[in-house]
C-alpha cells in the first residue's frame, strides 16, 4: 500500500497493480453543464428531435443562440481576441526573455464549487532564470516548495522531502509548465493549445491541455499577463470538476538580484 502513497508523493510505484479491481462505490465527480452535454451528446437531445420537422428553424435559432452564448462566455468579459497571434507570440517571447528574476507576494484561492467552499492562502514567490522557483506559503499554514533544475524540495510543518523531478513524469510536466509560463515559452508548448485575448492592460492566455494525463487534472489553465512588462498577474487552474485554484501575484519586482542561496535545496 505504501507504494501507492509514495506515488502521490512523487516516487514511482514499483509494486505493480496489486489491486486492479475498481472500487464499486467509485463515481468520479465530473460535473457537466447542460450546454456542454447538449453540444457533446446531440443524441441525448431527445425531446427536441420529436419536434424537429415542425420546429426546425426554432431549433436552429436556439442552437445558434447556445453556441453564441458559449462563445461570448469563452471570449472572457472585457477581453477581445488578439488579431495578430504571430506577432504577439514573438513579442511575448521577446519581452519575457528580459525577465531574469521575479520577486512577488501571492494569494491563492482554492474554490470547491460543488461544496460552496473556498480557502485562501498566501505567501511569497521567487523566480530566477532559468529554472529556479521558490514558492512559500506562510498563511494560514507554512509550506515551502523549491525547484532548482531537476531537483525539488518540499517542506511542510513536519518534514522535508527531496525529489528528483526526472524520476516522475507528472512532476516533470508541472515543472516545465511553470517555467514555460514565467519564461514566456508556453505558447510553444506541445502540452497545450492556446487562445489569446487582450484588453487595454493585459493579455489573457487560455491554455487547453492536449494530453490525457493533463486533461485529467485541468480543463483549462488561464494565464493573465501584464501588458506593461509581460509579467504574469494570475494563474487560474480550472479542473474538470469545475473546482478551480487561482494564484494572484502582487507587489511584483522584476529583475532584482536574488541570491542563489534562496533556492538552495
Amino acid at each position: 500500500m505504501c507504494e501507492y502513497w509514495s506515488t502521490v508523493h512523487g516516487r514511482q510505484s514499483t509494486a505493480g497493480d496489486l489491486w486492479d479491481q475498481p472500487f464499486e462505490g467509485c463515481a468520479r465527480g465530473m460535473q457537466s453543464n447542460i450546454v456542454t452535454t447538449l453540444l457533446k451528446n446531440p443524441q441525448r437531445v431527445g425531446p427536441l428531435e420529436k419536434h424537429r420537422t415542425g420546429r426546425g428553424l426554432w431549433t436552429m435559432v436556439c442552437g445558434l443562440f447556445l453556441l453564441l452564448s458559449v462563445n461570448v462566455r469563452a471570449q472572457y468579459s472585457g477581453y477581445r481576441s488578439v488579431a495578430d497571434l504571430a506577432s504577439f507570440k514573438k513579442e511575448f517571447a521577446l519581452q519575457s526573455a528580459k525577465i531574469n528574476s521575479v520577486t512577488s507576494n501571492f494569494t491563492q484561492e482554492k474554490v470547491l464549487t460543488a461544496l460552496t467552499e473556498k480557502i485562501t492562502s498566501s505567501g511569497n514567490f521567487r523566480f530566477k532564470r532559468s529554472n529556479k522557483v521558490r514558492l512559500e506559503y506562510t498563511t494560514p499554514f507554512s509550506y515551502l516548495m523549491i525547484m532548482n533544475g531537476d531537483k525539488m524540495m518540499v517542506k511542510d510543518e513536519q518534514k522535508e522531502t527531496r525529489v528528483n523531478v526526472k524520476s516522475n513524469k507528472l512532476f516533470q510536466q508541472i515543472n516545465r509548465i511553470m517555467i514555460d509560463c514565467i519564461q514566456g515559452t508556453i505558447l510553444d508548448s506541445k502540452d497545450f493549445s492556446t487562445r489569446v485575448f487582450e484588453n487595454d492592460k493585459s493579455y489573457l492566455l487560455e491554455m487547453t491541455p492536449a494530453s490525457k494525463s493533463l486533461k485529467d487534472f485541468f480543463k483549462t489553465i488561464v494565464l493573465t499577463v501584464e501588458k506593461k512588462d509581460y509579467s504574469v498577474r494570475s494563474i487560474e487552474m480550472n479542473e474538470p470538476s469545475e473546482d478551480r485554484t487561482v494564484i494572484t501575484f502582487t507587489d511584483k519586482k522584476l529583475n532584482e538580484q536574488i541570491a542563489d542561496e534562496v533556492f538552495k535545496l
Binding site: 472500487f23 462505490g25 468520479r28 465527480g29 467552499e117 480557502i119 510543518e157 513536519q158
Partner: protein, 205 residues
C-alpha cells in the same frame, strides 16, 4: 532458551489490549454527553504518514445541507487527492480519487478512518460499558469490530476513541481543544502498522 524467547514473543503478540476491562453498566447520561457526535465544517492542515512515506495537504470536513459529510483532501497548491461522501443513512460515495489512491484496500482503510473521526460508528447502540482503572470504555459493535470511546471516571472529558477487535486495538484517535465539534487538532494512529493522520485546524478568514 530460544524456544522460551519465541514463546514469550508469541505470548506478547497475542496479549489482549482489552483483557483487563471490567464489565459495567452503561451510563446513558455520559454516553449522551461525550459520545463522538461528528465534526463541524472546518479546514485542517493535514499530514499522513504511512510506513515511512509522508503526504501533507489540506483536509476539508464539510457538513452538507442534506446532512451528509464530505471529506476533501488536497495538496497545498490545491491539487485534489480525494473527495469522499458519508451519507446520513450510512452510505458512502467516492466523488473523486487520484489514480494512485484508487485502490479498494486504500479507499476502505481511509473510509474507516474518516468514518471514525466523524463519529459514525457511535450513532446508535446498543452500548456496552467497561471500567479499567480510572477510565470508562463505552463500546458499540459493528460486525466483527468494536468501537470504543473512553472517558474519565467522572465523565468530565473524552479521553480518546479506539477501534479494533474484541482483543486487539487497531486504531486510536484523540481530539484536542475545548470545542468537541471543532477540535484544534486530531491525531489518528494505527497500531497494527505504521500509519498516522495528523490534522491541525486552520484559521478561516
Amino acid at each position: 532458551m530460544r524456544y522460551l524467547s519465541f514463546s514469550l514473543i508469541l505470548c506478547l503478540g497475542c496479549a489482549s489490549d482489552y483483557k483487563a476491562l471490567q464489565a459495567s453498566s452503561p451510563d446513558e447520561a455520559c454516553i449522551a454527553r461525550l459520545k463522538p457526535s461528528g465534526l463541524a465544517t472546518a479546514w485542517y492542515d493535514a499530514s499522513i504518514d504511512v510506513v515511512g512515506h509522508h503526504i501533507s495537504g489540506l483536509l476539508l470536513i464539510k457538513n452538507m445541507p442534506d446532512s451528509s459529510n464530505r471529506i476533501v483532501f488536497t495538496n497545498e497548491a490545491g491539487f485534489k487527492f480525494l473527495d469522499f461522501e458519508f451519507a446520513p443513512g450510512g452510505g458512502f460515495k467516492v466523488h473523486h480519487v487520484v489514480k494512485q489512491l484508487d485502490k479498494n484496500p486504500v479507499i476502505r482503510l481511509l473510509k474507516k478512518d474518516f468514518s471514525l473521526m466523524l463519529g459514525i460508528p457511535f450513532k446508535k447502540g446498543p452500548w456496552q460499558a467497561w471500567q479499567k482503572g480510572d477510565a470508562y470504555f463505552y463500546g458499540v459493535r459493528q460486525k466483527k469490530e468494536m468501537h470504543y470511546f473512553i472517558t474519565d471516571k467522572e465523565c468530565a472529558s473524552l479521553q480518546r476513541v479506539e477501534s479494533g477487535s474484541d482483543r486487539k486495538r487497531v486504531v486510536s484517535l484523540t481530539f484536542h481543544g475545548p470545542d468537541a465539534q471543532k477540535p484544534d487538532s486530531i491525531r489518528l494512529t494505527h497500531h497494527t502498522f505504521a500509519m498516522q493522520i495528523g490534522l491541525k485546524k486552520l484559521a478561516r478568514e
